[in-house]
Symmetry: C2
Subunit: 370 residues, 2 copies
DNA sequence: GGCGCGGTCTGGATCGTTCAAATGATAACC
DNA sequence: GGTTATCATTTGAACGATCCAGACCGCGCC
């Protein structure tokens, strides 16, 4: 706009290295200030005189400058990356939470100036020439902590998001022990001493919603199809069923089935329950099991709906598109992501965290099966 | 196990800066060599004398050293990160490819010494103090290229993986124009001049599999339920139907319906086709539409199976767990991921790429609906 | 006039790694 | 024996950002 054609480099004074992305020094020269001033313009603009700031910003825009991440990371000892371990995709299950959660998470992290780095366990051969170092320990059972250590020591990420905290998560304790910053999606179930931040969804309350919904529709013999004992999450969800049933003065006796989180178990459990106890409704610990119940009903030529109801858990895509549509407990994953990123921000800025854990309440997506 | 208690650092020789992760220099001192030698031990071990190498490796292990990523990135001008833009999760559709693909991708990249960085479009406020710079251009329509530029200029990623190449993908052309290294999942449909590497799945062949399968079971009136004209992918898949039908000497006349990729369109299309043309089988461009067809059948109290068949596309979890199980065309996503990473590797190593595009053949997951 | 002061801005050092070139040691050759 | 080649290792200088200490400026006050 306003001309300042003083230095238009009619010829390169020193042979510039190809197109070479602009650096702080380039911008500084262009704006006629020092490197540090450009740096301040980006990181602490309130330190600059307005007119200087404008001049620098113009130069930045003109050159299309973005600060080099590696250099910044090196100097500040922060990568602005959050590590997330992706678990193997499970087939033949409805459990596709990841999609929905991931997008929310990436959005939330972006707003906080972070990015998500995905990694996975199993042998991580050092990048570099393939020297098959005969490392016997790599042959052992898959270590749930695998991958975390390396990323942390190399300062590749600032913090982790730990999602698979079921089963008394060993890695939470391990990470905490090492002072690794991380937030867990899932309560530190078995560990009252845990001092790390976490976000979780109140599965118990979700199941209670389901029970209330069914009672409203006149059901009294409401069965539970859930996971084996030993799963904290499973027991938590189940407690929503038992407690709420009792609240309503209903019996839970002989109405509970526990087994694997598979379609087939749901199917067999439904058959068994129908044979012996004639329940009129099923509440399940997962959509996968619920789909199994649906299959059993189908095999008996029974139609889920008002008279015979099924409720799942997770509001998976399968629940949404199957026929009939499956009523299901929906986790507020978008909100979970926001909370997690908030906690991560506090953690990394060393801000004090008031409440270590936050529990969010799910909702019920009502469809044709109830 | 074997004891090596020689240096138990009884007191810090020089005031060490807190725990302070070990650096090259630390390891060098420990092993009694120079920094560069340690670096070589990691990156070009063949340069070292075996005994020196072993000594250095021991020191590395003893100190638990991992090279600092930021420093390495800065020096080598490479981040060993692949950028992947995540699209908004779509609800009420069966399209949950991402889960399965993502895991394979992360595994493949790990084996190649890379990681996946997720990002998303929309306003990316500069990380740093919240100065609400009134940037009017941020208010405009969502730019599909948004995010790429910034990550590239800041050298945050080495290359991109572009997945949403349907609809004549503008960003592929844009990235190519700027010389950005990237690989596309999806052919450069409308652009014969495209010179970037890509991997794709032969949807046409997949649909042909479906048609063959149905013809084998005695079907002759096989209908198509697909997407609107204008979608390259949609037309490609549809061509598998028309061509294969004709190969079998079957008519396609009036047996085709096109519309949105929604459950409801599939449902309405099925009703309309059943009213007028009495098809005995449906081949669909997606599982979402197929689930719609299933719903229509259910509404007419028709049962999919041998006599009346439905085939979907994507082999989503919904197809797997719904009742009855939906026969569906399955994309070899694991293989896609491997090919993509191979291409990315070649690209980044500036190795010549023989064939720019690779097309993989899907399979058919047969279930109860056929 | 000298001093202190807060607000701006600058120059040098630094983060931890790899690159390029130099060094020392050892063997090979005529 | 001296020159050359080869190997193993070291040394110094980058990469591009931020941190730190200090310089400069104009101003008000004693």
């Amino acid at each position: 706009m306003t001309r300042r054609p003083e230095l238009h480099r009619p010829e390169p004074p020193r042979s510039e290295p190809r197109p070479g992305a602009p650096t702080l020094a380039t911008v500084a020269a262009e704006a006629g200030v020092s490197r540090q001033t450009v740096s301040n313009a980006l990181n602490s603009p309130e330190l600059l005189r307005p007119e200087t700031l404008e001049r620098v910003q113009e130069a930045i825009e003109r050159l299309g400058y973005s600060p080099n991440r590696a250099a910044r990371n090196l100097r500040t000892r922060a990568s602005r990356l959050i590590g997330l371990k992706v678990a193997p995709a499970v087939e033949d299950s409805a459990n596709a939470l990841m999609d929905r959660f991931l997008h929310s998470l990436v959005e939330s992290t972006r707003d906080a100036g972070y990015h998500v780095l995905l990694f996975t366990g199993s042998p991580t051969p050092q990048p570099g020439p393939e020297v098959p170092v005969d490392a016997p320990e790599h042959v052992e059972a898959p270590d749930p902590l695998d991958g975390y250590d390396e990323l942390l020591r190399s300062a590749a990420v600032d913090a982790f998001l730990v999602t698979d905290t079921y089963l008394g998560n060993p890695q939470a304790a391990w990470l905490e022990e090492r002072g690794v910053p991380f937030v867990a999606f899932g309560r530190p179930w078995g560990d009252p001493r845990a001092r790390h931040p976490w976000v979780d969804v109140d599965g118990r309350a979700g199941v209670m919603l389901a029970v209330d919904h069914l009672v409203e529709r006149g059901h009294e013999r409401i069965a539970w199809v859930g996971w084996q004992k030993g799963s904290y999450i499973g027991e938590d969800r189940r407690s929503g069923w038992t407690d709420r049933m009792h609240d309503h003065g209903l019996s839970t006796s002989r109405l509970s089935a526990r087994g694997d989180d598979t379609l087939d178990f749901g199917r067999r459990a439904a058959h068994a329950l129908l044979d012996s106890e004639q329940p009129t409704a099923f509440v399940c610990a997962s959509d996968t099991q619920a789909m199994g119940v649906m299959r059993a009903l189908d095999e008996r030529h029974l139609r889920p709906g008002r008279g015979l109801s099924v409720v799942g858990f997770d509001d998976s895509l399968a629940a949404q598109v199957s026929t009939p549509g499956l009523t299901s407990v929906r986790q507020p994953l978008e909100q979970v992501a926001v909370e997690i990123v908030t906690l991560l921000g506090d953690l990394l800025a060393h801000r004090p965290i008031q409440e270590l854990g936050r529990t969010l309440t799910p909702t019920l997506s009502v469809r044709s099966t109830t």
